[in-house]
């Protein structure tokens, strides 16, 4: 029996199962509207979901053979993922419960209508901010501190090549990975935050200005932005970074400052587009006309009348843009032109530790090193996006 036959049999079984499921459902519940009006596609979805769930449970309880060298580490990673998901859900639930009981009436109301995903996202953001702010106090070692043992495996189990003093192991030159991860929050997230703020300040104010004044200024700014947006952003950033690295040496200014400016400029074009589009929808409102006819100045129009109404989409975009900036920095660091060593940075850590990925099939704990940094990036991105989705949903609900 080859793979194709197996797949075909499973597919047929699912199809038949869906039909039976719906038929039995109709008979058992005596044509309840739920089953009576159920489409075949919907029934198929239920059956497929159930089948996947059964498979997941079965796979989860497969014997764990870490030490025999048999290449089935997939089970281990799957278990970690499931356990992580469960822990994250419980944490998010508890956090939401806390938010519902503690705090002012306003925040309690906010938490009451909050989905679990959003509370998870907020928890992640709070955790990261905490780590970033207090990195120096929390991290057991310095970010550039080279310790005795190199390439210590994560897990802290001496039998498997770990060391309890370095719970997440050390890298090739013997720096503690846990400390570097914590400092990485400070460097990567901090720089990304500053960059995003700058991008929003530039893009947002220019966008609103273009929307309010229109005419030649709008044309000039918009066409300029079009030109910048036409160039692939990562390649453009690489190009500018190469130029900037020469200047940085000549002027004695850290390259990181240039990186912040360059990424802020590239990302401000996207913010400009959004701010202008949102602004254009707002400037046609009668209350803007009323303010203009009152004789209000430009500053009042932009900051007092337009900005409060553009807050929701801009905040949502801020979350998304933050992720993109953050990924761009990680990508630049991965390529070697971003945050410079010995500063800890997640992108650089992934690049430096990447070769360990090859051990994944046989020694999951050894392969974890690069995945930890990658996971830190992924977790923050997912968390921020959860919060952004929730805010978008809330702001679209407000409009009705």
């Amino acid at each position: 029996m080859n793979g194709f036959t197996v797949a075909a049999i499973i597919l047929v079984a699912l199809c038949v199962g869906a039909y039976i499921f719906r038929f039995v459902g109709q008979k058992v519940t005596n044509d309840a509207p739920k089953f009576r009006d159920m489409g075949y596609g919907e029934a198929f979805g239920f059956v497929l979901g159930a089948a996947l769930l059964i498979w997941a449970v079965w796979y989860y309880f497969q014997p764990k053979t870490l030490d025999t060298g048999v290449p089935n580490a997939g089970v281990v990673f799957f278990r970690w993922a499931v356990q992580g998901l469960i822990i994250a859900s419980i944490a998010a639930y508890l956090f939401r419960l806390l938010g519902r009981t503690v705090g002012t009436a306003g925040t309690r109301k906010l938490f009451r209508s909050m989905p679990l995903t959003a509370s998870f996202g907020i928890l992640v953001i709070i955790l990261y901010s905490f780590l970033a702010i207090f990195a120096g106090a929390i991290a057991p070692y310095g970010q550039a501190e080279i310790l005795g043992a190199a390439n210590v495996v994560a897990g802290g189990d001496p039998a498997l090549g770990g060391n309890p003093e370095y719970p997440l192991g050390t890298d090739q030159i013997g720096r503690d990975i846990l400390s570097r991860l914590i400092y990485g929050a400070q460097n990567t997230v901090g720089i990304a935050f500053i960059t995003t703020c700058l991008a929003f300040f530039i893009g947002g104010s220019l966008g609103f200005l273009a929307a309010t004044l229109q005419g030649w200024l709008d044309q000039l700014l918009s066409r300029g932005v079009d030109v910048l947006m036409a160039i692939p952003s990562l390649i453009f950033a690489l190009l500018l970074m190469t130029i900037a690295s020469v200047w940085a040496n000549e002027l004695g200014v850290p390259l990181t400052i240039f990186m912040i400016l360059i990424i802020a400029m590239i990302d401000s074009t996207r913010v400009y587009r959004l701010a202008r589009a949102v602004g254009l929808n707002i400037v046609v409102m009668d209350y803007i006309e009323a303010a203009k006819l009152r004789g209000e100045g430009l500053g009042y129009l932009v900051f007092k009348e337009i900005l409060p109404n553009a807050m929701a989409p801009l905040l949502a975009e801020f979350g998304l843009r933050f992720c993109f900036v953050f990924l761009t920095i990680a990508a630049l660091s991965f390529l070697g032109v971003g945050i410079q060593p010995p500063l800890a940075d997640w992108g650089t850590m992934v690049r430096d530790l990447a070769p360990f990925i090859n051990f994944a099939a046989f020694a999951p704990t050894a392969a974890v090193a690069p995945l930890l940094a990658a996971g830190a990036i992924a977790l923050l991105t997912v968390g921020v996006n959860f919060v952004v989705d929730w805010m978008l949903h809330k702001s679209s609900g407000l409009k009705e």
Binding site: D31, P33, R36, D37, M285, D286, Y287, E289, A290, K292, L293, R294, G295, E296, E305, P308, N309, M311, L398
Partner: protein, 547 residues
């Protein structure tokens, strides 16, 4: 004869704030074949919800919690999706308020028309197209042979509404639900649509539920009328009884709205300088002239109503006066002094003297600002009042518009009703202490009772503060109740102007006459008489086109 549609004890609930709140509290309804029932009530009365429930349908977040909907022996509340599919579109059809928003802009009218009959297997595409053209002809659409092959945006609003009626007719349903089909239309367009809908409903002996808030319209269309108030039935009886002898107080108050009338004012003294004087204004959007040599005066303490259909240049005139659209020729004078044509060149005091109240209070108030901020801004901006003095002045203004200051000061516009929002718009204009206010269709988005309240308030304020109003409207009932002088506009030109009394007594200019005659009256025979008197081709837009 058995009922075609029987609704018994219908209760509908809507979900908000995580609880189910009642929308309809037990309404009964019976409809025989070929009968037309008018459902009237204010917004929020549950008219549309009942209309949709008659098809066994509820909007998202709304559910039928109790009661039965029986259509020709089929229980629509519990019917399966398959059963509903076989009925909806084929035996029950729906005509929505905004045909422009309900047609799919990406498909030609005829393609959307034939979809129903073909899907339901009533006929094939070829016969259905022929039938569509026949229906278009019956509904007196211009060029019936080709109009169906246009896209929705290539057809006017009134024509779309008729095309939609034709589409509802395509399967010859037993029941059609009309949800405010003429509310968004001009009077001259409305009358045409009304006449064609009534004719076709009679011809095919179709039963209909006609939902509207306009009593005069429902008087023409319905055999019997049901009045609703906040989800409850107030009363039901046949049209003539309902109009001549309404039983309930609420119904009587609805009927009485149209009786509000301001007392006559003495004629303006000779030689008095008008507050606002529009002199020979010609204005253009781009290179197209939209106003041609418009002139009229507005005197102190008077209301000038500017009347005309959409596109007649009423609002453009207002834009010229406010300086948003500088005229190409002519000038605007204020107290005899010519004003700079662009608002940016006017002084703060010139801007203060002329204020504006907008049609849509929703877009006229910044949704992120509290009432205190909205009204307080002009107080501070023009009067220079700050802190406690500003608060005091805002409270005074809120008192003037009959809203309790302590209750409303910190609210956001979204926490107010439509009528209250419009009052805030008025207060914001008053805050500038102007001499002259432009009211742009201020009551057209409001229910009749609420609109009447606004009109009374504006009239009181005029008496107290000696304001002058320019009242832009397409509703002649409003003109009758509030105006001192009337300016009739058509295609950017003033066709007639003069004191109200003169305007409402013959002889009229042909266009004024047409406008006046197109306003539905409460008399159920009005449309019949008009059709008899003038003939089908001499009413509404058809007659306008002939001019």
């Amino acid at each position: 004869m058995t009922n075609l549609l029987t609704i018994k004890g219908l209760k509908i609930e809507g979900r908000s704030d995580e609880t189910w709140n009642p929308i309809i509290n037990g309404v009964d309804l019976e409809l025989k074949k070929g009968e037309v029932l008018g459902l009237i009530g204010e917004s929020g009365a549950g008219k549309s919800t009942i209309g949709l429930a008659a098809m066994g349908y509820t909007r998202d977040g709304v559910r039928i919690s109790d009661g039965s909907v029986d259509f020709d022996g089929v229980d629509l509340v519990n019917a399966s999706a398959a059963v509903k599919r076989s009925l909806l579109g084929k035996r029950i059809a729906y005509v929505a308020q905004s045909a422009a928003a309900s047609f799919n802009p990406a498909h030609k009218l005829i393609d959307q028309h034939t979809e129903g009959p073909v899907q339901h297997g009533v006929s094939n595409r070829g016969t259905s197209v022929e039938d569509g053209i026949e229906l278009y002809r019956k509904l007196r659409l211009p060029n019936p042979d080709e109009i169906g092959f246009r896209y929705p945006h290539q057809v006017s609003g009134g024509q779309l509404q008729r095309a939609m009626t034709a589409m509802a007719m395509s399967c010859r349903p037993d029941l059609i639900i009309f949800d405010e089909p003429t509310t968004a239309l001009d009077v001259t367009t409305q009358i045409e649509v009304l006449a064609s809908i009534r004719e076709i409903v009679e011809e095919f002996d179709t039963a209909a539920i006609y939902i509207t808030h306009d009593l005069a319209v429902v008087a023409q269309m319905a055999d019997k009328i049901k009045v609703l108030l906040r989800g409850d039935e107030v009363e039901e009886s046949d049209t003539r009884t309902m109009l001549s002898a309404p039983k309930e107080d609420y119904t009587k108050s609805l009927w009485a709205v149209r009786e509000f009338q301001r007392p006559e004012k003495p004629p303006v003294e000779k030689g008095a300088v008008p507050v606002v004087s529009v002199r020979g204004v010609t204005a253009a959007y781009g290179t197209t002239d939209v106003l041609h040599d418009v002139s009229f005066d507005i005197h102190a303490g008077r209301t000038v109503a500017v009347v005309g259909e959409s596109g007649s240049g009423k609002s453009t005139t207002a834009r010229c006066i406010t300086g948003l659209l500088p005229p190409r020729m002519g000038e605007i004078a204020f107290d005899g002094q010519p004003l700079p044509s662009d608002y940016r060149k006017r002084t703060k005091d010139q801007l203060r003297q002329a204020q504006m109240i907008y049609q849509m209070a929703d877009t006229a108030l910044n949704p992120r600002k509290t009432i205190g901020q909205i009204i307080g801004r002009p107080v501070e901006f023009y009067g220079g009042l700050k802190g406690a003095k500003r608060r005091e002045r805002v409270n005074e203004l809120l008192d003037q518009i009959e809203l309790e200051p302590s209750k409303y000061y910190n609210r956001l516009p979204s926490e107010l009703s439509g009528g209250q929002k419009q009052r805030i718009g008025i207060a914001r204009a008053l805050a500038a202490e102007p001499k002259f206010i432009i009211c742009d269709e201020v009551t057209s988005a409001l229910d009749q009772l609420v609109a009447e309240g606004i009109l009374r308030l504006l009239a009181d304020l005029q008496d107290k503060l000696g304001l002058s109003y320019m009242f832009i409207t397409h509703d002649l009932a409003t003109v009758k109740s509030i105006a001192d002088e009337v300016v009739v506009m058509k295609n950017g030109k003033v066709v007639e102007q003069g004191p109200k009394v003169e305007m409402f007594t013959p002889p009229h200019h042909a266009y004024t006459d047409l406008l006046l005659s197109s306003v539905p009256e409460m008399d159920p025979d009005w449309l019949n008489d008009l059709l008899k008197e003038r003939g089908v081709d001499n009413i509404g837009d058809a007659a306008v086109d002939k001019m």
